[in-house]
């Protein structure tokens, strides 16, 4: 089992982006790259290879699902897990995200102190 070191965070809300960045950097000791849209995320992935991508679900332009599909299509060799963040917490929606190929779903609002462990618990068994 390999530990994750770097994360690409994608969210259109700058505030949330900042909170999750601080949580992952200071609490989780992770390298964090951020993007404020699906398009920007795809652009960053051409030169960065994060260990995990965290995608907001509701974004203007490409939403989380579309971004996930694009990542899989354009970067088939990039084997990193993708985790969704969403404020839609209905069970049916959660299942739909998992079926779409997400490694896990993090509900908003989240406790930033628990965020890095939550992410690791989702991603690290999946990478194994």
């Amino acid at each position: 089992m390999e530990m994750i070191r770097s994360v690409l965070l994608v969210d259109d809300e700058p505030d949330i982006l900042m909170v999750s960045r601080i949580a992952l950097q200071t609490v989780g000791k992770l390298e964090v790259e951020t993007a404020s849209s699906g398009e920007e995320a795809l652009a960053k992935l051409t030169h960065a290879q994060p260990d995990v991508v965290v995608l907001d679900m509701m974004m203007p332009g490409m939403d989380g699902l579309q971004t996930l599909n694009q990542i899989k299509e354009r970067f088939p060799s990039l084997a990193c897990p993708i985790v969704f963040m969403t404020a839609k917490t209905q069970q049916a929606e959660r299942e739909m995200y998992l079926n779409a190929g997400a490694a896990g779903v993090i509900n908003k609002p989240f406790d930033p102190m628990l965020l890095p462990d939550l992410l690791r618990s989702i991603v690290e068994p999946a990478r194994n």
Binding site: M1, M3, E13, D15, I16, M18, V19, S20, I22, A23, T26, V27, G28, K29, M58, A79, P81, A87, K88, L98, N99, G101, A103, G104, K108, P109, F110, D111, P112, M113, L114, P116, D117, L118, R120, S121, I122, E124, P125, A126, R127
Partner: protein
């Protein structure tokens, strides 16, 4: 030598001899004694009871002779029989008839012979009682007389024997007949009891009759199908086992084709013999009987079983016929009643509405319908044509549910059948097909009329309402998302500050941050509650309808809220809780209700000691009460309590942290369980909140889910109360707990057992929990189960490990959040419990067992010993791997291979066979092993390799 001639009455004689049923039967003492006496009288070595049939003499009794028979041509007795008279040959050497007879010239060298005929009936001789000596002799007249007397005794013995035999057979036949009659009587008796149930509907009666048939026949599936609109349609069916229902409609269609699109009584009987059903639909021992109404065969009654059962007898057919008669009679009565009622109904409608009836019926915009309990519309008004586009004959030619949206059919069926049973009124929404495509939303008001076997319905087009509802739902969903988004950054920022992630904060500022954080949490709760309220109001709240034990609900809620209670200076006491307090509903939602009542009691009756919880009988309901000793509630305010945002004292709302929606939601949930909720209180002396829920019959104790080590977790916790609480919380999800109160015990248990997860307390008496975790992780490496830290100092521990918490999947702060704990453990357990499912098709019990033992640690093995069993299993269950033997008792494993191969998601297959395999078959398999070339070990190695490739579906892993 002279051959004996046939007597003139030979045919009659032979018939009579056969009738004695004595030829070729074993020796009997009575006859043996008689020959012994005869030999004694003549003082000769040989005496026989000889019976002469077409071409031999056969000895029923013999003394001094080894042969059991000799040819008739050379027999002495043949001569005695020819004349039906005593034959005495004093000296064979002087008798021309016998002098060169082989029995004289050769063994037994007969010198003297005396034979008295065995005469019965009208003088036919069956044979003789004869005595023989090797030397010539001169018997006295007395000796001959004695021989003849003994011969008569032989005959009477033969007659006696026959008589006995006949009576024994008669008794056996009578016993059989009586049994048959008793069975028929039992059958008729049951039919009478069923017929006497005056309040039962025709359907119920037919079901009961089928049931009685299944019981008497020892079979498991029965159905009545009737010819209806050019096909054989199922009218009733009863399954006595919970095995999956075979595609009965398809079966009836096939039967119909088979019989040449009519009910042909001969073919019906032949169907049972041909066992086509057995082959095609996995059914055994079919009995089919035609149902005859008014002299016309109009349907069939069919019994069968998906299991192997005793072969059927002719008696069973009789039983089936008696049941069929009963059902035919019931159907015929039903037909008569229905005709009479329809006539009466028309008459009534005519008399009530007079001439306005037609105009009323025709001009309304709503659909007016009369639908029979058989599912077919009997009457419809023109509005149906306008709204749906189908013509009335089109609508009336098919059962109504065929027009429903597939997703709405189950609900429609259950609603209407409930209404049919109760004869009640009900309202249901569903989508009806339109001829030009698409569906129309209809709101039905239904009233059942069991007497007339029909449902009256009025349907309104609610398409507009549905569109608005959809918009509103989308709006609520969007708003809740829009609210959560800013809350996420607020809660996140505050959380980082509070957790010290961005440096220390001075005391005063800290308490402000804490307050902001608490209020953010409250806002989140408020949004969740508002979503609940919206779901309840719009009827969108999904409620399970399963048996729920209220006592369990109470125990669970009390345990989960105990800490909260302590903090508020109260204690929950379960004062009365009967064992059989079962209701139908949604356990999680009922827990939500009780949680709400318990936390209210703690908040509003702060520091008052005991809060009593009880479950009491209240006629047909259970009454769940929560009684506090707080300030009570003003009578004036009690009526407003259950409205939204109503808290008795606006000052309490500030300290209570509630949303003001709890009771409103609780009431909604209880009402969705067909219950009521209320409060009894007088100001100053406490309050009792209660909810009443309808009782259901006591449920059989369900065995806890068989849990191997795979669903067992280790609870490392030194406080026995908390350990017990965790155990309680997890037992609800079928997870078994092993407890370890010290680090030493935990370590030894981790080394010897396999757990799917560990809950870990940090403050252990003998070692720090984090230390224990580090130590065990180093020792067990990959075998270390996922760890969930449950501790009052979870935050501190987490900071200590700072990023080195690999293997810790969740940090849970005490007091324990029930959902958090359950979900964390379930997530962790899921990774370990998803086992590979293997179907092993093999008729050799040894191979089955060895394989199962070897792989049971990683796989669940389902054995199948025949092609048929394998088919059933494949239909019932999903598998990740199949191991198939080709030579099976009832067919060829290749058949299964073909079926698997042509299925949409073929299961990987290993062939393990005694014979060489055709190339085409081998190509369908992942591996082919031949029993003579590969041994058990090869099989296990192959399975092992494949199991590594074949992993169970895991939703959490990446594709």
């Amino acid at each position: 030598m002279e051959f004996p001639k046939l007597p003139t009455n030979e045919n009659k004689r032979m018939a009579r001899l056969r009738a004695f049923k004595i030829l070729d039967t074993p020796a009997e003492d009575g006859f043996d004694d008689l020959v012994r006496i005869a030999a004694g009288i003549f003082e000769v070595p040989i005496a026989l009871v000889s019976l002469v049939d077409e071409n031999r003499q056969w000895f029923k009794a013999k003394l001094g002779l080894d042969a059991t028979e000799t040819p008739r041509d050379i027999s002495f007795c043949g001569h005695a029989v020819q004349n039906a008279a005593t034959l005495v040959v004093n000296d064979t050497s002087k008798d021309e008839r016998f002098v060169d007879n082989p029995l004289v010239t050769d063994d037994p060298n007969i010198g003297f012979y005396a034979g008295a005929p065995l005469i019965t009936g009208e003088g036919e001789a069956m044979g003789t009682l004869c005595v023989i000596d090797r030397n010539a002799r001169q018997p006295s007249a007395e000796q001959i007389e004695a021989l003849e007397a003994l011969a008569r005794q032989v005959v009477s013995r033969m007659e006696l024997r026959l008589h006995l035999l006949e009576s024994e057979q008669a008794i056996a036949a009578e016993r059989l007949a009586r049994k048959r009659i008793e069975r028929q009587a039992e059958c008729l008796h049951r039919l009478q009891i069923i017929a006497a149930q005056y309040n039962a509907s025709t359907n119920e009666r037919i079901d009961l009759m089928i049931d009685a048939g299944l019981d008497l026949l020892g079979l498991h599936l029965g159905l009545v199908a009737q010819v209806k609109r050019g096909r054989l349609a199922i009218r009733n069916w009863v399954a006595a086992t919970d095995s999956p229902r075979p595609p009965l409609d398809k079966m009836c269609d096939d039967l119909w084709q088979w019989m040449g699109e009519k009910v042909d009584p001969e073919k019906v009987a032949a169907t049972a013999d041909a066992r086509v059903l057995a082959a095609q639909f996995g059914l055994n021992s079919p009995i089919a009987v035609p149902l005859v109404l008014d002299g016309e065969p109009t349907g069939i009654l069919l019994f069968a079983s998906p299991q192997d059962v005793q072969p059927l007898t002719i008696d069973d057919h009789t039983v089936a016929e008696v049941i069929a008669d009963g059902i035919s009679a019931e159907l015929s009565r039903h037909r008569v009643r229905r005709t009479i009622r329809e006539e009466a109904l028309r008459e009534r409608v005519r008399s009530q509405f007079g001439s306005s009836e037609d105009r009323f019926f025709d001009t309304t915009h709503e659909i007016l319908a009369v639908c029979g309990f058989d599912g077919y519309f009997r009457e419809l008004n023109p509005a149906a044509e306008q709204l749906l586009g189908y013509s009335l004959p089109e609508l009336m030619s098919r059962p109504f549910y065929e027009f429903l949206h597939p997703d709405d059919r189950d609900q429609a069926q259950s609603v209407t059948s409930d209404a049919m049973v109760a004869g009640s009124r009900t309202v249901v929404e569903n989508r009806f097909a339109r001829k030009e495509g698409g569906y129309r939303w209809l709101l039905w008001s239904l009233a059942a009329d069991p007497e007339n076997q029909c449902v009256y319905g009025i349907a309104q087009d609610i398409g507009d309402r549905k569109r608005i509802e959809k918009m509103k739902n989308e709006f609520v969903s969007t708003v809740s998302h829009e609210l959560r988004t800013p809350l996420t950054s607020i809660r996140g920022s505050l959380g980082l500050l509070l957790g010290g992630a961005v440096g220390d904060i001075p005391g005063e500022a800290m308490s402000l941050v804490k307050m902001a954080c608490n209020n953010t949490d409250r806002l989140v709760r408020l949004i969740n509650d508002m979503l609940d309220v919206d779901k309840i109001e719009s009827g969108k709240l999904q409620i399970n309808r399963l048996p729920v034990d209220l006592r369990k609900v109470a125990e669970h809620s009390i345990a989960a809220n105990a800490t909260f209670a302590r903090d508020h200076g109260v204690e929950y006491c379960l004062t009365e809780a009967p064992k059989d307090a079962w209701v139908r509903g949604d356990q999680d939602r009922l827990i939500q209700v009780l949680d709400n009542l318990l936390s209210n009691a703690a908040k509003y009756a702060r520091d008052t000691g005991k809060v009593n919880v009880s479950i009491e009988h209240d006629k047909d309901d259970w009454r769940l009460c929560v009684t506090d000793h707080g300030p009570g509630i003003d009578a004036a305010f009690q009526s407003q309590l259950f409205q939204r945002f109503s808290q008795a004292d606006s000052s309490t709302s500030k300290s209570s942290g509630g949303t003001g929606l709890g009771l409103n939601i609780s009431k909604g949930i209880v009402e969705m369980h067909s219950g009521t909720m209320g409060v009894d209180s007088t100001a100053g002396s406490g309050a009792t909140f209660w909810c009443k829920l309808p009782k259901i019959a006591e449920q059989p104790a369900t065995k806890p889910k068989a849990a191997g080590t795979a669903t067992q977790i280790l609870v490392v916790e030194d406080n026995p109360d908390i350990a017990h609480l965790i155990e309680l919380m997890l037992s609800q999800k079928g997870i078994r707990c092993d407890l370890a109160p010290t680090a030493v015990e935990a370590a030894s248990k981790l080394l010897t057992n396999r757990y799917c997860a560990v809950t870990l307390d940090i403050g252990l008496p003998d070692e720090d929990g984090i230390n224990l975790f580090r130590r065990m992780r180093a020792r067990l490496k990959e075998r270390m189960p996922p760890v969930i830290v449950v501790s009052a100092t979870a935050d501190k521990g987490k900071r200590e490990l700072a990023g080195n918490a690999l293997g810790i999947v969740q940090w849970i702060q005490k007091p324990i959040d029930l959902d958090l704990l359950q979900n964390a453990v379930l997530d962790a357990a899921k990774r370990r419990t998803d086992r590979v499912r293997v179907l092993h098709v093999e008729d050799d019990a040894g191979v089955l067992e060895i394989t199962q033992r070897q792989i049971e640690k990683v796989a669940d093995v389902t054995p199948a010993r025949t092609v048929q069993e394998a088919r059933l299993e494949l239909r019932k269950n999903e598998f990740d791997l199949a191991i198939i033997d080709i030579g099976l008792p009832d067919g060829d494993g290749g058949q299964i291979m073909h079926e698997i191969h042509s299925s949409p998601a073929p299961v990987p297959v290993i062939i393990y066979s005694g014979n060489e395999i055709e190339q085409s078959l081998a190509e369908m398999a992942e591996a082919v092993l031949i029993k003579t070339k590969h041994d058990q070990q090869d099989l296990l190695t192959t399975i092992g390799k494949l199991l590594d490739q074949v992993t169970p579906r895991d939703t959490d892993s990446m594709p």
